[in-house]
């Protein structure tokens, strides 16, 4: 079974803080993704990575950065958290090589005060 884990289920931060969200997958998947999920807006792609040290912007990258130093780990960074970044953050991974089924982590609910 593929397992995607996220470092925190709930996180509360203050405006202006730097925030790190960590995601780890244990199935040697090539691709990893970060989404945010908000009521009425569905899942929106922030960034994704198809290889170590490679990253591509998704649909809403502003205010975020990512890091993929190791194949199994994909980090989402909020350089200076703002209240409009309060959301549910979901990490996913997929095998690649035309196998594009994505496996999701449990999510991190981030509140920025």
């Amino acid at each position: 079974d593929v397992k995607v884990t996220q470092s925190s289920r709930y996180l509360v931060k203050r405006t202006g803080e730097k925030v790190f969200l960590e995601c780890v997958q244990d199935m040697d998947h090539e691709n990893m993704f970060w989404y945010r999920q908000d009521p009425g807006l569905g899942l929106r792609l922030i960034y994704f990575s198809y290889d170590v040290k490679m990253k591509e912007k998704g649909d809403i990258p502003e205010g975020y950065s990512v890091s993929r130093e190791k194949k199994e780990r994909f980090s989402l960074i909020l350089e200076s958290a703002s209240t409009n970044q309060t959301s549910m953050y979901l990490c996913a991974s997929s095998l690649g090589n035309s196998d594009n089924e994505q496996f999701f982590g449990p999510g991190t609910r981030l509140t920025v005060l």
Partner: protein, 114 residues
């Protein structure tokens, strides 16, 4: 999560009845489709997938139908159970352009009445 269901279309069914959840996808060139289930407080979970060279695929209690002519996807759940209550998302992918991305629909909330 617990707030993902706000503003979503909702389907309410009686326990034991069949459910049909519909999805209109956006790209006529998409060639791979997935249905996900998201329970409150959890990440989306894979239910079933289908490739564009098929128009029907069956799993355990679930069937996905694909109508490429009208870009429509449906998920049928037989003998719906209380544990089926969740938000359901369809997703599409265009694998031929080497895109790894899935495009998600906005979701439908399924409520199962006892």
């Amino acid at each position: 999560g617990e707030s993902v269901g706000l503003h979503l279309p909702t389907l309410s069914v009686q326990e034991g009845d069949n459910s049909i959840i519909n999805c209109a996808y956006s790209n006529s060139a998409s060639d791979y489709f997935i249905w996900y289930k998201q329970e409150s407080g959890k990440g989306p979970q894979f239910i079933i997938d289908i490739r564009s060279n098929m128009d029907k695929r069956q799993g355990q209690r679930v069937t996905v139908l694909l109508n490429k002519t009208v870009k429509h996807l449906s998920l049928q759940i037989a003998a719906t159970q209380p544990g089926d209550s969740a938000v359901y998302f369809c997703a599409e992918n265009l694998s031929l352009d080497s895109s790894y991305k899935l495009i998600f629909g906005s979701g439908t909330r399924l409520l199962v009445r006892p």
